[in-house]
């Protein structure tokens, strides 16, 4: 059925069933490949996007539930990588394989929007649902602090 979505500030209509996960609408209908499939169960966080500014697991989010709410993907986080987190991520060369990183950055963005100067414990809690198979956690933490400091 036709559904009106607002993704990265662009209003668009998609014709999909209401229970199609947001992840696959983004990837296969809207051709936004930033959000990734890692587990399909909301465990790994590779599919994380922002809906109304909140970090959600798009693999577990039915498209019907995001109608009328702004969706932000990694592609829409900034113009050309200028978000302080993206800048920090580059400065510290955070990614290894890179597959989890869209989700990591968006979870971190939701955290900083809410808590501009998070403690390590607050970072741990906010990022707990974003798994990294390669072990970039130390650099992610460093980049979040770096971005928080730059935001002052």
């Amino acid at each position: 059925m036709p559904l009106e979505l607002t993704v990265n500030n662009v209003v668009t209509t998609v014709d999909v069933s209401l229970d199609m996960p947001l992840l696959w609408v983004l990837r296969d209908i809207l051709n936004l490949k930033g959000a990734k499939y890692g587990c399909g169960m909301g465990i790994c966080g590779a599919c994380t996007v922002l809906v109304g500014g909140r970090a959600v697991r798009s693999c577990m989010t039915h498209i019907g539930t995001v109608v009328g709410q702004p969706v932000t993907t990694i592609e829409g986080l900034s113009v050309d990588g200028a978000h302080p987190l993206q800048v920090a991520w580059e400065a510290l060369d955070v990614p290894q394989c890179g597959y989890c990183q869209s989700g990591q950055i968006l979870s971190a963005a939701a955290l900083l929007a809410h808590t501009p100067h998070p403690t390590d414990a607050e970072i741990d809690t906010a990022m707990n649902g974003n798994l990294c198979r390669c072990g970039t956690y130390p650099r992610i933490r460093q980049a979040i602090h770096h971005a928080a400091a730059a935001g002052t």
Binding site: K36, R133, G135
Partner: protein, 737 residues
């Protein structure tokens, strides 16, 4: 510098290629490294525009280990250009042009260090020759600096961009004749460069295999039997074909033949493929798929059965001797103290965050593929054989890979995608679900070790006997399931014996990051710690004494090479990590402790100290890790090298809490909640130090991992007095906090 096919020199086979049987080397007779230099030519790798932009090809699959950045750095250094002028392009599969293009065995650095620097130097040579010719001066009077050729005597200079077209017409020098820089003049190597894809990653560009999109592309999922090798008897195919978005439903008979040993590439697994408009539609349709499986002989297998058989084999006379010297029985009988232990660890799944898959398009007898394979050359050969398509008619593009870890040395998903593309007549993107990925992995083999060692009255090691219960059929062991004759402390213990006994396994096994080492370091270094405790000695001091023994000569009576243990280098990293961690002054507080371990594998030496706290519920908190690595004279890209150390340590910690178990032939773990990854809050601060030594640089993908498991086990012992001999932690009564 245009690509000039006539200037390609004949490629010679590279001994380091190591395709089909993987990178875990069991015998000392395996490749010593490259030997003869491959005949590579700069025009394959380097393109210089008149604007001075230098495009360098990245030859190998980028799986997160940083080679897409690091290997071009080697070329750029010797070419003598500014790194800021370099643009890196991923090469397609073409081993005539690029040499071996696999990623694994921590071989990218050692195998490419000479050839790629020489490729860069050869390019520089051609540019100098072009300038000298243009100016009518001897080439020997010319020099280069950051992308320009200079003739200081006459004050003339020319940018590489102006010279490139002429240079491309020249005959390249042979690689052994080019002059290399003095390392003290390095401007790129040894300085941290950001990953060439980092900007694209953080802005969500479609880089990975899963991101490939082609016009008219369909997407596929394959339902396979929950028991390995089970076949389709019947299924409600007609019903599923009618479901939304489904285009095709195909039965794969497969080419698997089950036996006591499952080969690394055992043939196509049977199953039912659903091809649909989107992968989600295929997955939805799978929910309605009802298959009557012939489970096959694998259904009798269970972890309980394996454990029982291991117990029997441990009590029996070992089946095969890997190595022995001296007289272990006599030495044990006369030992002042004998320590015995049984160590065990489970099967593990790789769990690459991007599941397996490949995209393929078949038209008019020609196949084109976009893959995440770590061994694409072997993959193309496998596809060619499986589908009877000449290799010359198969183009393979290399995508960025969402984690390799040794899983993608196997190419089953390439064959599946190609088969589907040929059947369906449209481009097909195959994707495995996470459940598929865990259920159909090529697992790190489980194992059980019976150990017995003797100490003399001074607490010195006099005998070491080790019996590995593993998988296989007699001497023919399952992939990744063997143990090398050089496994520590082979060659150093005064009396030594290493045996294996094997049981059949109808399941795929393979190579998980640091194959062998990821298990054997835990066993050996924990047992060393036990022996030290039994001797009332400091474990570091106990181990340094072993490493100071006069080593037995190499078995095949050849000169030692980089794949043979150099005890001084292992001592070096152990001593340095102990110093960094304050080992000598460590406190003995209940509930908190330090553990130390060191290991040599994949040509690299690493020693690690773990600082843990353990609470009354046996929950373990990682406070800190110190890691010291010796991989020779250069750390090519320091920031990326440090990432590899973080990665190996964190993966080792993850492995300690994972297991794959079977019941009635079915894998019991289905997703990450049952095969968990370490979380950020559990990852300790990690301090990494490099001990540079005067050896040719070697790789970092793997040697960082093995020591962390025993370092943690030994730290838990220091903290609690409890010895961990069985992994995962949970089976020894512990867990991560």
């Amino acid at each position: 510098m245009k690509l000039n096919r006539r200037s390609f020199l004949q490629m010679s086979a590279m001994t380091g290629g190591g395709m089909a049987l993987g990178f875990y080397e069991l015998s000392w007779s395996s490749a010593q490294g490259l030997g003869k230099l491959p005949d590579l030519t700069p025009v394959s790798f380097i393109r210089i525009g008149s604007d001075g932009i230098v495009t360098i090809k990245a030859k190998s699959p980028e799986i997160g280990q940083g080679v897409k950045t690091m290997l071009p750095m080697m070329i750029a250094e010797e070419l003598d250009v500014e790194w800021s002028t370099v643009r890196v392009e991923q090469a397609d599969l073409d081993e005539r042009l690029y040499g071996g293009q696999s990623a694994g065995g921590s071989t990218s650095t050692p195998n490419n260090w000479e050839p790629l620097r020489r490729v860069g130097a050869a390019g520089r040579h051609m540019l100098v020759t072009a300038a000298a010719g243009k100016w009518g001066v001897p080439a020997a009077e010319c020099s280069t600096q950051a992308g320009r050729v200079l003739h200081v005597a006459s004050g003339r200079t020319a940018a590489y961009g102006e010279l490139a077209a002429t240079a491309a017409t020249l005959t390249p020098p042979t690689l052994d004749q080019v002059k290399l820089k003095d390392p003290k003049d390095y401007r790129i190597i040894g300085k941290s460069q950001p990953g060439v894809d980092t900007r694209a990653i953080v802005t969500g560009k479609p880089l990975f295999g899963i991101d490939v999109t082609l016009p008219g592309m369909l997407q596929a999922a394959i339902e396979k039997c929950p028991v390995y090798g089970g076949k389709v008897k019947s299924a409600n195919i007609d019903q599923v074909k009618k479901l939304p978005g489904v285009r095709n439903v195909l039965v794969i008979d497969g080419t698997l033949a089950l036996g006591p040993v499952t080969a690394p590439e055992p043939g196509m697994e049977p199953g039912i493929a659903i091809v649909a408009d989107t992968w989600w539609h295929a997955q939805q349709a799978r929910k309605s798929l009802k298959v009557d499986w012939d489970l096959g002989p694998g259904a009798v297998q269970s972890s309980e059965g394996f454990a029982k058989r291991a117990e029997e084999l441990l009590k029996a006379t070992p089946a095969d001797k890997v190595r022995s010297y001296g007289d272990v029985d006599v030495a044990l009988k006369s030992a002042a103290k004998v320590v015995e232990a049984v160590y065990a660890y489970p099967f593990l799944a790789h769990g690459t965050l991007e599941p397996q898959g490949t995209t393929a398009s078949y038209k008019d007898g020609k196949l084109e593929m976009w893959t995440t394979s770590q061994a694409p050359g072997g993959g193309r050969a496998l596809v060619s054989k499986a589908l009877n398509i000449p290799e010359a008619d198969i183009i393979v593009h290399l995508c960025r890979v969402g984690g390799g870890f040794g899983r993608r040395l196997m190419n089953d998903y390439m064959v599946e995608a190609a088969w589907l593309a040929k059947q369906v007549g449209a481009p097909v993107k195959l994707l495995w679900s996470r459940e598929d990925d865990i259920a159909h992995d090529a697992y790190r083999p489980a194992g059980t070790h019976g150990l017995k060692a003797g100490l003399d009255a001074q607490g010195k090691l006099v005998a070491w006997q080790q019996h590995l219960i593993t998988y296989g059929d007699g001497k023919r062991l399952a992939p990744g399931a063997g143990i090398g004759a050089d496994e520590f402390p082979s060659g150093l213990a005064p009396n030594y014996a290493l045996y294996t006994s094997a049981m059949p396994l109808m399941l795929r096994t393979g190579y998980l990051r640091a194959p062998g080492g990821n298990a054997y370091a835990f066993v050996g270094q924990s047992f060393i710690d036990e022996l030290a405790a039994a001797a009332g000695r400091d474990p570091l001091e106990f181990q340094l004494e072993i490493l100071s023994a006069t080593p037995m000569p190499v078995q095949e009576n050849r000169a030692k090479g980089p794949r043979d243990l150099n005890p001084e280098r292992l001592k070096g990293v152990l001593e340095l990590v102990a110093e960094k961690a304050g080992w000598a002054n460590r406190k003995h507080t209940p509930g908190r402790g330090l553990g130390i371990a060191g290991y040599f594998c994949h040509q690299g030496y690493f020693a690690e100290v773990a600082d843990v706290s353990v609470d009354k519920d046996n929950k373990v908190t990682m406070n800190k890790v110190w890691a010291v690595g010796d991989v020779g004279s250069q750390i090519v890209n320091p920031q990326a090298a440090e990432s590899m150390a973080y990665g190996g340590v964190i993966e080792g910690l993850t492995q300690m809490a994972q297991e794959i178990t079977l019941d009635a032939g079915r894998i019991l773990q289905t997703n990450f909640h049952q095969h968990p990854l370490l979380r950020m809050r559990q990852a300790p601060p990690i301090e990494v130090f490099w001990r540079k030594t005067d050896y040719s640089p070697t790789g970092l993908g793997e040697p960082t991992l093995p020591p962390i498991l025993p370092a943690v086990g030994n730290a838990i012992f220091a903290a609690t007095g409890k010895r961990i001999r069985t992994l995962p932690l949970q089976r020894s009564g512990f867990s991560w906090a």
